[in-house]
Amino acid sequence: MLAKRIIPCLDVTAGRVVKGVSFVKLRDAGDPVEIARRYDDQGADELTFLDITASSDDRGIIFRIIEQVASQVFIPLTVGGGVREVQDVRNLLNAGADKVSINTSAVTNPQLVADAASRYGSQCIVVAIDAKQVQPGKWEVFTHGGRKATGLDTVEWAKKMQLLGAGEILLTSMDQDGQKKGFDLALTRAVTDALEIPVIASGGVGNLQHLADGVKIGGADAVLAASIFHFGEYTVQQAKQFMAQQGIEVRL
């Protein structure tokens, strides 16, 4: 049967992988190409790169990184951050990305999701949603790295993105991100139950049980984590073995 996926996430700025807590306080984690190779060796099912470069001057760096990774690592690569128009999608695919993740621009210009999906296929369009709980069982979509409220309901927004042609949803809990207390499982469950397309749970992983809970309780199709892998706490292989022991289908 289909395996649940484990996806290490690399936040990249100025050519380095960094990791922050709730989108601030960045800590250096190393060279992206080296890290990507390491995770591939450990059996990562995919890799996600988020270009968090603030300045547009440095936008070229991510292309060179993706080109290098794609010539050495033969698993799916998702790249996001600063995607504003169809041309950005095209440039990232040409650099070697297999999927492109769209976040803020999906909110400011939903037609971008439709246009990119119809041009390149839904399989390569991931919509990233940053969600924050506003009341029990209710989550609002935030943009601009979590700084800007949109008034949109996360479940309804995810359904709209599916309708416009998103192939997958990358769902990050702003409340949990960087806290190492586990995913927002109620959020994950609410979104995955509402959709036909796969959902990647993100934000808050601090140990291996959190990954397993994302699948077993949250119902996620894939789980994304950054710092537990970057700083050597666990390898991807350990994560998979742990999940397999819990009866979760994984690629070992």
Binding site: L2, A3, S71, L93, N94, G96, D98, L195, P198, D221
Partner: protein
């Protein structure tokens, strides 16, 4: 004359395929091409595809590549990938369009509201790493039974001749994920994105000399 032509009919990104081929055959000359002459002259042809089948068929015809692909599929080592498998069949439910008709059978969509044995919802597209139960075709040489390959698709092929089937996978029912006949081999998954198992299959294709 190139060793390997990767047919480019303008649907998405062929760079991954090109890079994976380069990895397993660094000395081979490889051309990503929309030139039917180059496809016609190449020793081997890879026919990838992504996106929606009606668009793929339209773009193939718009570039005048149909005949070159049909000829290659009948007379030289030929590897179809993803939509490149589906397009070989007679008809697709996606957009209700005819395919190339090289192989008998049709392309159908996964049912909605699929559930696994534990009652969990199975998403469509079928996306991720699934086990491949394969036969004894030489392109599987050295690849473990039930090895996992990376899939992303919502439609799958239903050959009307079971002798074409070279592998199946389960979601949750068995579906055909590889078909072959003579000089032709085609897979639903993406060998170029399937880590060691995928590279192995590409290597086997590069070395394949069908009778």
């Amino acid at each position: 004359m190139v060793d390997i032509a990767i047919v480019d009919y303008g649907m998405g990104n062929l760079r991954s395929v090109q890079q994976a081929v380069h990895k397993v055959a660094p000395d081979a000359s490889v051309s990503v091409t929309d030139d039917s002459q180059v496809v016609g002259d190449a020793k081997r042809v890879i026919f990838p595809g992504q996106g929606a089948m009606p668009d793929c068929m339209r773009e193939l015809d718009a570039r005048g590549l149909r005949q070159a692909v049909l000829d290659a599929a009948r007379n030289k080592p030929f590897l179809g990938i993803c939509i490149g498998l589906q397009m070989l069949f007679e008809h697709s439910a996606e957009g209700n369009v005819p395919g190339l008709g090289v192989l008998p059978g049709e392309v159908v969509r996964f049912a909605s509201e699929l559930r696994d044995a534990q009652g969990n919802k199975l998403k469509v597209p079928h996306m991720g790493w699934n086990q491949v139960h394969h036969g004894d075709h030489v392109l599987w040489n050295g690849i473990a039974q039930d090895a996992r390959f990376y899939f992303v698709h919502s439609y799958y092929v239903r050959p009307s001749d079971v002798s074409l089937v070279q592998a199946t996978s389960d979601y949750p029912q068995p579906f055909v994920c590889a078909a072959a006949r003579d000089n032709l081999f085609a897979v639903q998954f993406h060998p170029e994105k399937s880590a060691a198992a995928g590279l192995h299959l590409l290597q086997n294709f590069i070395n394949w000399n069908p009778a």
